[in-house]
Structure formats: C-alpha cells, structure tokens
C-alpha cells in the first residue's frame, strides 16, 4: 500500500455506506434465462445498429449490433439462440419509456461463437487493440458508459503520465467492483497491463477506498513484482469515485471545466473495465456479462451476481429472493445517483452496477421541500465547487441562460447538495430538469434554424422560377418582335405562294372535270346529240365559274 501523502478534493459527504449488506457471499453466476432484451443504446453516444434479422440463429458472443458512428460500440448476443424480435421494449431509464431493443430467445446450448484471442498483445499496434476493444462492445463499467476505446487513445500530442484505475466505488450499497477486486484480481491486473500498453503510460495508480481492505490486499498480491503499479488506499469520502474528483485526490491536479483528465496527462479507467479488456484481448470474448450488486432490504439474499447483459431485472431479483413485500422503491444505481425504475420488466444493461430494492427505512420519505434558508451547506458540500443554491434559484425561475453562466454543466449530479440540504429540496432533480430543458431548447433552435433555411430556400426558388418563366416569355415575345422587320418580304413570298396555289387550283378547276369516255367510234347521230347537249349546257350556264361550281356541286 502506498504511504504517499494524499491530496484531497473539495466538498463531499460521508453517507452511511451499507456495503456489508451485499459482501457476505461470493459472486454468484446467474443461470441461463429463457429470454434476453438487449437495448441498442447502452452507451454514451450513438446507438448500435442491428445486423441480425428476426428468426436468425445467433451464437453467444456473436455481434448483433454494429457500432454506428465514432462514439459507439458493438453489441453482442449474451447466449446462443434465436432473435425473437427487434422493436420497442421498456429500457432502464428514468423516463420509463421504451426504446429499440433486440429480443433473444435462448436455446439452452449456450454455444460460443469463434473467439480470437491475442495473447501477444504487446506486439500489436495500439490502434488495432483499440479497435478490438470497440468491437468487443466495452464501455466504462463504472456507470457512465463512455466507450472505452476512446479512452485508450492517448492522442498524438499528449504523453500519458499516469493511468488511474478506479476501484473507489464510493456510492453506498454498491460492492460490485469490491467483489470483483477480491475475487478476480488477476484478471483486473492483466487488463491493466493491456490498457497501460495501449496508452504507453508511465505509471499506474490503482485507487481503492480504505473501507475495502480485502480488495486492497487482493490487488496488492496480484501486482507483486510490477514496478510501475501502485495501490493507493484513499480515505473514504463520497464522491471520490467521480473522475475529476479522483484525479484531484490523487494528484492534486484540478481538471478545468469542459476538459478531460487527458489534458493533464491522466487517463482514468474503472477496474471492471480492465477485467473486460482482459477478456476481450486475452480470451477474445466480447462484453456479454457484468457483475451487478443486488442489495437492499427488499431482497432476501443480497449479493453480487454475474448477470448477462439483457437479463430482465425481474429474473435477477427473483434469483436473489426478491422483491419482498417491504420493497418500496426499485433503484438502478445507488441511493445517491441512481434513478427509480418504473418497471422490473426492463433488462440490465452494460452500465447497470447495482439494483437496490429499498425498503421504506432505507429510503425514508424526507417530507415536502421547505423554502431555501440560504445556509450555504450545499456550497460547502459541492465537489465541483459550484453554487448549488444559485443554480436552484435559476432552475426554479427557468432562467436557462443565467443557470449556464453558473456552470450548470459542470454539475456531476452526485447528490451531495441535496443530501446536506436541511430544507429537503430535491436539488439534483432541479438540475436534471434544467439540463433537459436546455437540451430541448437547443433542439428547438436547431429545428427553427433548419425551417428558416428551408423557408428562405423555397422563397429564393420560387423567385428564381418566376424570373425564369418571365425570361422565357420575354424571349418568346422578343423573337416575335425581331421577325417584324423582315415581315414584308415574308408576306410577299407567302402571298406569292398563295397566288401560285390559287393558280393551280384554278387550272385544276378549268380543266375538264370529266374526261368523256367511249368517244371513239361514235356514229354521226351520236356526235350530233352530244353537241346539242353541250350547246344547251353552255346556254343554261353561260358563266364558266358558275359552271365549275355547279359541276363541283353535282359531283
């Protein structure tokens, strides 16, 4: 254990930890369930895109969701079976709404797909390692679910000095990292070596709070002989496990607003993530299960279980003898930062670290919120050094501009302010409310901007079309006008043509309409008769034109 003088972080609280509730038994592997629900969106960033179709048979570890976009990871089948459905199912989310999920029916064989292990990782290009971690679907298992491969990229300009492995687990009730460190320290340390290699970090600090002596001992034994690794036992204080607070506690370096630990040459990974990286690289197994603490007075046998991603919460609670009649509230995560679940039909996801079936005594009703008395206790407790009561005023007044000036987005929603508030004001609820309002306003603005652009474009288009039509008409008119000077000769030729035509017609008309037939070999008598008829005809129609008209009419 390190004897180094520790730095400290600002604020924080000491809530009752209740850790021993769930550490009495070893990690229990959940038996195979019949049905798994796999939400496509389990990480920060873009959701995965399904690459299987309904009715298709898949093997355990087979990729069923493809990482879409940069900030995204793949999704894998937790067992072998068939794809039953792809559609909207309840997901663990504070809204209680449904989202796109892949539903699988297990076939009981639990047959693995082909796994490609890379035990020789030291000779592999770090970018290839990152890609494997991404394809293995690994996200930060501490709770936020940020795609881990991005945090394995040191960038081109920054040298990583310190890799901090986060085994703090400061939130009450949660013990999944503790149990993992106690039981699978070798896997964690193997994973740390891979992460260190990918980042080319100088040294590794494994931070564990001093309320986990067994985990500290177990990890220390596993790193014996590793010169660059060191376990640091930190005095227990909530929220030490938060990335920025942990960096401050270990190194004294404060990470600026909107910056990452990377900016000060530090990368922080969770110990659970290290174990998952070990499995992905050394065994070729993607992330298909995780350790979950099932705890609280609402379950008969609180303990840690290794559950496959996608297991329905109801099944896990039943496996641990719950929920009992005393259960008042079902919380995903811990009592400080978790959220109440609307339904136990939702599945567990990659970020589910704890299921807390809390009784009325464990989550006492704090009574209605009273007016703020401006005591300032929240400001003393805020580890982000914000002014919680100012944020509260502006959230209440829905002053979304002012609240951002007070750095609302630096709030990590740890709940320290609400915990110390003597007036029981649900402060974090106000900040979450303000954050979603701001995001909604941003979306509205973007949509309005798009509508404005399209409206403007349409106006320009209509005007352009009008102008084009006018131009066409003008061109036609101009063509007509431009013909006028040559109009005289044109009409002359036309007239000539008409005259010629009339001549032809006249000639045709003047020509005898009927050529007399059988006029050869006429008797003189017949000849005389014809002449008489002709004579009469001439007499009755003296006008030749009339004659032709008449002959036309006769015809």
């Amino acid at each position: 254990m390190s004897t180094r003088p520790l730095f400290s972080f600002f604020g924080g609280v000491h809530p009752p930890m209740h850790k021993d509730v769930s550490t009495g038994q070893p990690i229990d592997v959940m038996p195979l369930a019949e049905r798994y629900i796999l939400p496509l969106h389990q990480n920060i960033g873009q959701p995965a895109k399904p690459v299987v179709s309904v009715g298709e048979r898949v093997l355990k570890g087979q990729r069923i969701g493809h990482a879409e976009g940069y900030v995204s990871v793949a999704l894998h089948a937790p067992t072998s079976g068939t794809i039953a459905d792809i559609g909207a199912y309840p997901v663990p989310h504070p809204s209680g709404l449904s989202d796109n999920c892949i539903v699988m029916t297990a076939d009981g064989a639990d047959e693995w797909t082909e796994c490609v292990a890379l035990p020789d990782y030291e000779n592999i290009n770090p970018s290839h390692l990152r890609n494997i971690v991404r394809e293995a679907g690994i996200v930060g298992l501490g709770g936020a679910g940020f795609p881990s491969f991005i945090k394995l990229n040191p960038g081109t300009h920054k040298k990583i000095d310190t890799l901090i492995m986060n085994g703090i687990e400061c939130e009450p009730y949660i013990t999944c990292d503790d149990m993992l460190m106690r039981e699978r320290a070798a896997e964690i340390v193997a994973g740390i070596r891979i992460i260190r290699h990918a980042l080319q970090a100088n040294r590794v600090l494994i931070a564990i709070e001093d309320n986990k002596p067994q985990a500290i001992k177990s990890i220390e034994e596993a790193i014996r002989g590793e010169s660059a690794m060191e376990v640091v036992a930190c005095p227990t204080r909530y929220p030490q496990g938060s990335e920025k607070q942990l960096v401050e506690a270990l190194t004294g370096k404060e990470i600026p607003s909107e910056a990452l630990p990377l900016h000060v040459g530090i990368v922080v990974h969770n110990v659970g993530t290290a174990a998952a990286v070990y499995r992905a690289i050394m065994l070729g197994e993607p992330l298909t299960s995780r350790i979950i603490t099932v705890t609280g007075g609402g379950v008969a046998q609180p303990r840690n279980v290794e559950a496959r991603i996608g297991t329905v919460i109801e099944d896990i609670l039943a496996h641990c003898g719950g929920p009992t009649a005393e259960t008042r509230k079902l919380i995903m995560g811990g009592p400080m930062m978790g959220f109440a679940l609307h339904s136990d039909r939702a599945p567990v996801v990659k970020t589910t670290n704890c299921l807390l079936a809390a009784t009325a005594e464990e989550i006492p009703d704090r009574g209605p919120a009273l007016p703020c008395i401006r005591c300032g206790a929240c400001s003393d407790a805020c580890p982000a050094r914000l002014l919680p009561q100012q944020l509260f005023w502006y959230a209440q007044a829905k002053d979304l501009d002012k609240i951002q000036e007070y750095n609302l987005f630096d709030c990590i929603e740890c709940g320290c302010c609400a915990y110390v508030c003597p007036s029981n004001i649900p402060l974090v609820h106000y900040y979450r409310f303000a954050k979603t309002e701001i995001w909604a306003r941003e979306r509205e603005k973007e949509k309005a901007e798009l509508a404005r652009q399209r409206f403007d474009f349409r106006q320009t288009r209509l005007e352009r079309e009008k102008a084009e039509r006018a131009a066409r008409h003008k061109k036609k008119r101009d063509e007509l006008h431009s013909e006028e000077p040559s109009a005289a000769p044109a009409t002359e030729t036309k007239k000539a043509a008409i005259l010629a035509a009339m001549e032809r017609a006249k000639k045709k008309k003047d020509a005898p309409r009927i050529t007399p037939a059988n006029t050869e070999a006429l008797t003189p008598q017949q000849q005389q008769m014809i002449e008489e008829v002709e004579q009469r005809r001439r007499q009755s129609r003296p006008n030749p034109e009339q004659q032709s008209a008449a002959s036309n009419g006769d015809k």
């Binding site: 009273l370 004001i425 404005r452």
Partner: protein, 189 residues
C-alpha cells in the same frame, strides 16, 4: 463675433463631412432589428400572424405595422421574448390569430388515400413534402414544422396532424414541485 461664427461654421462643416462619410462608410445592409426579431420567432412559417412567413412578420413588427402578440405557435414565450427585445409590455395572444398549441404536431399523409395531386407540396412553406404528380406523397417528418398549411388544400383529406411522440432522446425531467411556502400563521404566532 465674426470669428465665433466662422469657427462654429468650420466646426459644423467638419462634423457634417465626418458624419456624411460615416453614413456612407459604415452603412448597415438590411435591418438588424428584423434579424433579431426573426431569431425569436418559432419559424413555423404557418402564416397565422397574417403575413406569409416568419420573416415578413418580423419585418412588419420592426416597422411597427404588426403587434407582438400575433404568433400562436410561439405562444406566450415568444410574446415575452419579443416584449423583452423591444422594450414593450407583454400582452396576451391575439385570439384572432388562433389558439396557442399545447403539443407539437407533425403532418402525416395517409399514403393509401393520396391521389398525388401535388397541392400540399405547393402549400408547404418549408418544402417538407416529397412527391410528384400522380405519385404518392410523403412528409419528411424531421423537416415538418406542424404549420397545418397542407391540411386544407388536400382534396381527399388524407393529411392528419399527429402529436409528436416523446422518446428517450427528447424526454425531459419534469419540474419538481415548488418548495412549500412557510405557513404564515404558524410563523407569526
């Protein structure tokens, strides 16, 4: 006396020239106020204000030809924002222009009924309807502003306005109940 007149006259000439130069040199294209007003309008382009789109309405407000309470899609929020910008008193929405919409809607074309007449395409102020003569039309939902201008022209009444469904991405935390006010009688006693 004469010196004073000459001096003042010279000064007046100099400043006059300066101002004249500045007026030419720093001439602002367009009306910046119209831009500011336009930025506050919801860009639904529905025309309920009596002008053919948000920008014409913004221009009319800037010229003082229209009041600030004629935008039903923006509702009271927009009225307050406009009042803030223009230094006027907010007032309730003019009922002649319509009712404030409670929930957002988008147009949906029932595609089996659509006869492909293109009338809705011509009515859409943001070109959010796709189709061709005698071909089925469809609404690009992402770009529909919910202005309802396409509903009336449809000869077969196949366009419905449906509320926008809330999903996880657009879900918002509800405002917590306001802290209880101090019971006055108790504290006074």
């Amino acid at each position: 006396m004469l010196t004073a007149i000459l001096a003042l006259g010279a000064l007046a000439l100099v400043f006059g020239l300066l101002l004249g130069f500045a007026a030419v040199r720093f001439k602002v294209e367009g009306d910046p106020l119209v831009e500011k007003i336009d930025a506050l309008l919801p860009q639904t382009q529905c025309g309920q204000c009596g002008f053919p789109g948000c920008r014409p309405y913004a221009t009319a407000i800037a010229k003082g030809e229209a009041d600030i309470n004629q935008c039903p899609p923006g509702g009271q929020t927009t009225i307050v924002a406009l009042a803030d910008l223009l230094g006027r008193d907010p007032k309730p929405l003019n009922p002649e222009n319509g009712q404030e919409k409670v929930e957002k809607t988008v147009a949906i074309i029932r595609e089996d009924i659509c006869i492909g007449c293109t009338l809705c395409i011509q009515a859409c102020p943001v070109d959010a309807i796709l189709g061709a003569p005698k071909q089925m039309h469809t609404v690009i939902e992402k770009e529909c502003t919910g202005c309802e201008l396409c509903v009336a022209p449809c000869p077969v009444e196949c366009i419905d306005m449906i509320p926008v469904k809330e999903d996880i991405g657009s879900w918002k935390w509800k405002a917590p109940p306001a802290p209880a006010t101090r019971p006055r009688a108790e504290s006074d006693a």
